[in-house]
């Protein structure tokens, strides 16, 4: 084959179009791989590097977890204020997580390769995860209590571990009392206040009622005092000593056990240890509350908020979407009007989500919510009850956003049901309503489900409108708890997608937050991918079923 033949055959151009597909595929799978590796890699215990650094003040010891490294040209390093010796064109710099933010001021440091000594991995290097101030890295020297050293060196590890477990259990009890019991008392006190205000507004605050309220309040106060005593007791029990940690600068720091989440020696862990550590961390990520401005701990409230919001949205969107689709396909006279509406509905799926957010804020929150507050919750004014962004309005806004998805999908399912089935039903004497209920709707169920799943997948990933109608970076309480009426539609909530935005872009310590954002992103992608794949499978099954 000659060159001109080859050109004439058009093959190069075909290959070129083919490369577009390849590039797209590389993009998709590359991105998934990126999220997967970064998101899941975060929980794996990383070794602590010990090395020396030739600082301007002399040689320094460095303990740190190697975060990443990059090789840069001399000019780029010069821009960052690092001068390389003459003649050297490239140098690698390393980002270490050195921890100990309370002592060193920064917990991440870029260090340039030519100033670093050999990397060593001492077995006794320990990483202490704290409730505040991030991680501490150093070598454990012993355990102190009341100013006296009670255990030293390696032999203290066992004792520290035991006491730590003890303290942690106490901590859990403490948090439970704080959140559940005290939270409940505060909630009931607030309700009493609203009740009183309501009586006042109705001019019905009689002396007997006042006395009754005062009595209830006193009872709650008493309960509160009781709980406070209990908490003090627990706090006292938690004073079980301080871990002495020698930092890289040679100083020793005492960390109270009650401030420690976990201690581990990554350099001396074997693969089994590491694996169980990994599972432990992953579980913490899924089930715990966030700590330290969302950069540590878990994302349970965000998962919970996302799921609850999506559930309420599904309850709202399904009946209405299906009703609209049945009307359009089965009842309305097919003509220009219905065709126009169909185009409009299709288009609404393409209207930017932020526009729905603006609408939700103006119409639902300010207009509907404000009116409802005036009519039903005058006692709480001027503090808004429903006249402020919250769970209900978020669900409603997203329901509106996803209703076109359900309509389109249901309509498609309805159109695939052979006309003969309808005619058969009529021929047997069924009315249209009966045909709908007994034949058409059950048969289109997979299509409806597909629509719903797609709607859920879209809603779960949507962030822009929620920023206006209800998500917050840190919600003080879950929207569902043990206090009557259990489901608090007026509360603000946390959301996985918003969590990514907030932690990744609004956090003061982006470097510390980054791994958690990847992990959150991974979780969100996983949820959405599973939902979408389910929808695709359902759709395919439906298509096969009614293939004519």
């Amino acid at each position: 084959m000659t060159f001109s033949d080859w050109i004439k055959s058009g093959s190069p151009w075909i290959w070129l179009t083919g490369s577009a597909v390849s590039t797209s595929l590389i993009l998709v799978f590359g991105m998934l791989l990126l999220i997967l590796s970064n998101g899941l890699g975060h929980f794996w215990p990383k070794s602590i590097v010990q090395t020396t650094w030739q600082s301007p003040q002399g040689e320094q010891l460095i303990y740190g977890v190697l975060n990443r490294d990059e090789t840069l040209s001399a000019a780029r390093l010069a821009e960052a204020g690092i001068m390389l010796p003459e003649g050297q064109e490239f140098e690698t710099r390393y980002l270490f997580k050195v921890g100990n933010r309370d002592v060193f001021g920064v917990d991440f440091r870029w260090l340039i390769g030519n100033e670093l000594g050999e990397f060593q991995f001492p077995a006794d290097a320990a990483l202490v995860e704290r409730r505040e101030w991030g991680d501490a890295i150093g070598v454990i020297q012993g355990l102190r209590q009341n100013g006296r050293s009670i255990a030293q060196g390696d032999s203290s590890y066992q004792m520290i571990e035991q006491r730590l477990q003890d303290v942690q259990q106490l901590h859990e009890t403490l948090v439970e009392v704080q959140k559940k019991d005290i939270g409940s008392i505060n909630y009931r006190l607030e309700r009493l206040r609203l009740k009183e205000r309501k009586y006042e507004l109705d001019n019905a605050l009689t002396a007997s009622r006042q006395a009754e309220l005062a009595e209830q309040r006193a009872a709650l106060q008493e309960e509160y005092v009781e709980l406070e005593k209990k908490m003090q007791q627990i706090a006292q029990q938690m004073e079980q000593g301080e871990v002495e940690l020698e930092l890289s600068d040679g100083t020793s720091h005492a960390i109270p056990l009650k401030e420690i989440v976990r201690i581990y020696h990554p350099n001396s862990m074997n693969i089994v240890n590491k694996f169980s550590f990994y599972l432990d961390k992953f579980l913490e990520f899924l089930t715990e509350d966030p700590r330290e401005a969302n950069t540590e701990g878990g994302i349970f409230p965000a998962i919970f908020g996302t799921v609850l919001m999506v559930m309420i949205m599904s309850i709202l969107v399904t009946p209405f979407g299906v009703l609209a689709a049945i009307y359009l396909r089965e009842y309305a006279k097919q003509g220009v009007f219905v065709r126009t509406i169909r185009i409009a509905v299709n288009n609404l799926a393409g209207v930017p989500s932020i526009v729905y957010g603006v609408f939700g804020l103006g119409f639902f929150v300010y207009f509907l919510g404000g009116s409802i507050d005036e009519i039903f919750f005058p006692a709480a004014l001027p503090a808004p009850t429903l006249g402020t962004p919250g769970l209900l309005w978020s669900s409603l806004t997203l329901a509106l956003l996803t209703v076109p998805v359900v309509i389109v999908s249901t309509e498609e399912a309805l159109s695939r049901i052979p006309q003969a089935l309808r005619e058969g039903s009529y021929a047997l004497g069924a009315t249209q309503a009966e045909t709908m209920r007994k034949v058409i709707v059950p048969m289109s169920m997979p299509g409806i489900m597909t629509g719903l799943i797609l709607a859920i997948a879209r809603a779960a990933g949507e962030v822009a409108p929620l920023m206006l109608v209800g998500v917050v970076k840190l919600a003080p309480a879950l929207p569902f708890d043990g206090n009557f009426p259990y489901l608090h539609l007026d509360r603000k909530f946390m959301h996985l997608g918003f969590h990514i935005y907030d932690v990744g872009f609004q956090s003061p310590n982006v470097e510390a937050a980054r791994p958690l954002v990847y992990a959150t992103a991974f979780l969100l992608v996983a949820i959405i991918a599973v939902l979408n794949l389910t929808a695709i499978m359902l759709r395919n099954r439906l298509r096969e079923k009614y293939q004519t």
């Binding site: 083919g18 577009a20 009842y331 309305a332 990933g461």
Partner: protein, 756 residues
């Protein structure tokens, strides 16, 4: 017979039952019909509501201002009113008379509340009057013995029995006797006074024509201690004794002395010891005299009304030598006749002008807009004022009557030009497009030009489509026509899965992962762009040079799979070699090189990042619609073409692309709609600075991201809030238009294929 009878009756009763059941069924059927219709129409209406609600919120921006009559009261004193004004809520009004009396009244009920005589000796007369910045309630009286009395009205608000009660009082910042400003005891002919931030300045023109000023430092610890001020005095100008206007700004660092013929002296008083004459110029139009002057709120612009009935706005602008020059910014046509009085609105850049023939007009300076004009009364107007909330207008007429009107003018800042045009904002050196909606200061001039935001959206969309269109459409063509069906069944869902990916994740990756990588590997990235087509084409050539037996191992339509490792290797090579190329050609740092040598600035979060990230989000949209269009081209057309001897490529160009063109067009339209409205990616991967520069390496601020950032903090029903809703409406209309076009084309295409 009996038998038959019973059976008949049984039949009868069962018929009855049947009938009943049937009618119930019919009823149920009808109910369902209505229910479904109601529900269906309801949902569709609810969705349509979005548009109408947005319109409803936006409408007041463009509705005209209204005015209607309020209360009135007649004054007991036959005296010249010097100043008529209102307290914060517009309930209590007051008039300062030339005799040195302050009258307080309640305009709604028409009752007088108090009257206070100012501490002026009976044998001295008031020769001049000045008031401070409109929000300060400060005024001063210049007396004929060379003294000045400075007073401040204070309104104490209390709530006895839950009723708002305002009790007025008068404070004297410099003590309750007049201060001497002229040693010789010459009468004070003209006066200006300002008090702000612990500093009080009085500027006077004495009978001799000499202009001087004094500044006092006032300790603001709740008490005003007259003996704890420092005094500075300076003579600023020696002018012929004639009536000049003295304009002192609130910060007391700028003084304009304007003579009736338009000659203006522009002084910098920042250094009170050494005032500096910056410029002397004439601000009058030819053949006119200056009849009224006033500082606009904020103390930057001055308004100048002249005998020809024009109002001009001037403010100092820095020229190319960085010198301040008082510059005429814009003129407004007055209400008719020479301008008699100018009054400013409170807290915003509006003002009113009163003409010689008794007509008044309301303006907004930034919006360059005359809001309305009206003749309110036939008698001569001695004083005119607006209340602090700008919702009440009051007049003092010659007969001693005070009349008020309610003004409904909530959004004067909005005009077509203010939203879309270039506006010369205060303290800027030229007219510009600026979006800057709020700041910490009250006197801030909001800059509501949507153009830079719309530009940002278009820029983001342009670069997005630049990435997405080639990849998506070439990909769709290949997938729809060349790819083997087995592979297609796997590739399509994979690319469609892209569409489901939350954009917040794309935005996060673009901002925190891609942007730094691109910055470091800029040259590598461009190398990829250049090399990829070359690599692919040469790979194709070598493939065809391979022996037939090897080639046939790979069936037709699997080429793209073969290319994945190839592209990966080529991409990796480009990135790996990038730093060496950069070192060889650009001194090791391309962004810096661009900045220094070509003047192209480089932001880390720039339009290129947006193009790639949002391109990623838009590719699946365009891809799946275009692929539908390509793969549903009827088989007989392509087979016909192949049978006539065309190659596959010729068939593609000559038949498929032509037939599927409308579908591809609609795919692009719908992709465009998606790019325009995308929020999270532009929010996270740009610097969100509203600049007007098409530079690929600079950031932008898009309409959608702007809404997400600003709506939560905008005040309900404020102009800012409504303008943000307006931008939402613009986005809605924009996407709706493109989607509709796309959808209509697609439906027509389907019909056409249906007939084939």
């Amino acid at each position: 017979m009996r038998n038959a009878d019973t059976s008949l009756s049984i039949l009868q009763s069962s018929n009855d039952k049947e009938d009943k059941r049937n009618s119930r069924r019919r009823l149920l059927d009808r109910l369902t019909r209505y229910g479904v219709a109601l529900g269906g129409v309801g949902v569709i209406t609810a969705v349509g509501l979005i548009f109408f609600y947005l319109l409803y919120v936006v409408y007041p921006l463009f509705s005209p201002a209204a005015i209607h009559e309020g209360g009135s009261i007649s004054s007991p004193l036959q005296d010249e009113p010097q100043w008529l004004a209102f307290e914060e809520q517009g309930k209590i009004g007051f008039v300062v008379y030339k005799q040195g009396v302050v009258e307080f009244f309640d305009i709604e009920s028409g009752s007088r509340t108090t009257s206070v005589k100012l501490p002026i000796e009976t044998d001295v007369a008031v020769t001049s009057f000045a008031k401070g910045e409109s929000s300060s309630n400060l005024f001063a009286l210049g007396l004929n013995d060379g003294t000045v009395l400075v007073a401040e009205l204070d309104f104490d608000i209390s709530y006895p029995e839950d009723k708002r009660t305002v009790s007025p009082s008068i404070l004297y910042p410099l003590g309750n006797s007049p201060v001497q400003l002229d040693e010789q005891g010459q009468a004070i002919m003209q006066l200006a006074v300002q008090k702000y931030d612990g500093l009080l300045t009085i500027v006077v023109q004495r009978q001799s024509g000499v202009i001087g000023f004094q500044s006092y430092e006032i300790e603001e610890d709740g008490f005003i201690q007259p003996d704890e001020y420092e005094m500075v005095e300076a003579e600023v100008a020696q002018l012929a004794p004639r009536a000049v206007s003295l304009l002192l700004n609130r910060a007391q660092d700028t003084l304009y002395i304007i003579e009736p013929n338009g000659r203006t002296y522009f002084y910098d008083l920042f250094d009170k010891e050494e005032p500096e004459l910056i410029e002397t110029l004439s601000i009058a139009s030819p053949n006119s005299t200056i009849t009224a002057t006033r500082f606009l709120v904020g103390g930057i612009s001055i308004l100048v009304g002249d005998s020809r009935g024009e109002v001009a706005q001037w403010f100092p602008v820095r020229d190319e030598h960085n010198r301040l020059k008082l510059t005429k910014i814009r003129t407004f046509k007055g209400p008719g006749g020479a301008i008699e009085k100018l009054e400013t609105e409170y807290g915003r850049k509006g003002f009113l002008a009163l003409g010689e023939d008794g007509k008044f007009a309301l303006y907004h300076s930034t919006a360059e807009r005359k809001i309305f004009e009206k003749q309110l009364t036939s008698s001569k107007i001695k004083s005119i004022t607006l209340s602090p909330h700008n919702d009440l207008l009051a007049l003092y007429t010659e007969g001693g009557e005070i009349k008020s009107w309610h003004i409904d003018n909530p959004h004067p800042e909005v005009s077509f030009k203010a939203l879309w045009g270039k506006i010369w904002y205060e303290s800027r050196s030229q007219p510009e497009f600026i979006w800057q909606s709020s700041s910490a200061s009250d006197d801030f001039e909001p800059k509501f030009s949507i153009t830079p935001l719309a530009f940002g959206t278009l820029k983001a969309t342009f670069y997005t489509l630049l990435t997405a269109i080639p990849l998506a459409i070439f990909g769709a063509i290949y997938t729809g026509y060349f790819m083997s069906p087995v592979l297609r069944g796997k590739v399509k869902p994979a690319i469609e899965l892209m569409e489901a990916l939350p954009t917040v994740i794309l935005g996060f990756l673009a901002g925190l992962w891609l942007a730094p990588i691109l910055e470091k590997n800029l040259i590598g990235s461009f190398a990829i762009l250049l090399m990829l087509p070359l690599v692919v084409i040469s790979a194709c050539y070598f493939w065809f040079k391979l022996p037939e037996s090897m080639r046939t191992k790979l069936p037709d339509g699997w080429e793209s799979l073969l290319m994945i490792p190839l592209i990966l290797i080529a991409g990796w090579l480009c990135i790996a070699l990038g730093p060496y190329l950069e070192l060889a050609w650009f001194n090791g740092n391309l962004p810096q090189h661009m900045e220094v040598n070509w003047g192209i600035s480089y932001d880390q979060r720039n339009a290129m990042v947006i193009g790639i990230a949002m391109g990623f989000a838009v590719i699946p949209t365009i891809f799946s619609i275009a692929e539908d269009a390509v793969s549903s081209v009827p088989k007989m057309l392509t087979e016909g073409s192949l049978a006539l001897g065309a190659t596959r490529w010729q068939t593609l160009v000559g038949v498929i692309i032509l037939t599927a063109a409308p579908g591809i067009f609609s795919a692009v339209m719908i992709g465009l709609g998606r790019a325009v409205g995308e929020t999270m990616i532009v929010l996270m991967a740009t610097g969100n600075t509203p600049i007007m520069d098409f530079n690929l390496f600079e950031g932008l601020r898009a309409l959608s991201a702007n809404i997400a950032v600003e709506v939560p903090e905008s005040e309900l029903n404020s102009t800012h809030y409504r303008i943000l809703f307006f931008t939402g409406l613009v986005l809605f209309a924009f996407t709706f238009f493109f989607n509709t076009v796309g959808e209509l084309v697609r439906q027509n295409l389907r019909k056409k294929y249906g007939s084939l």
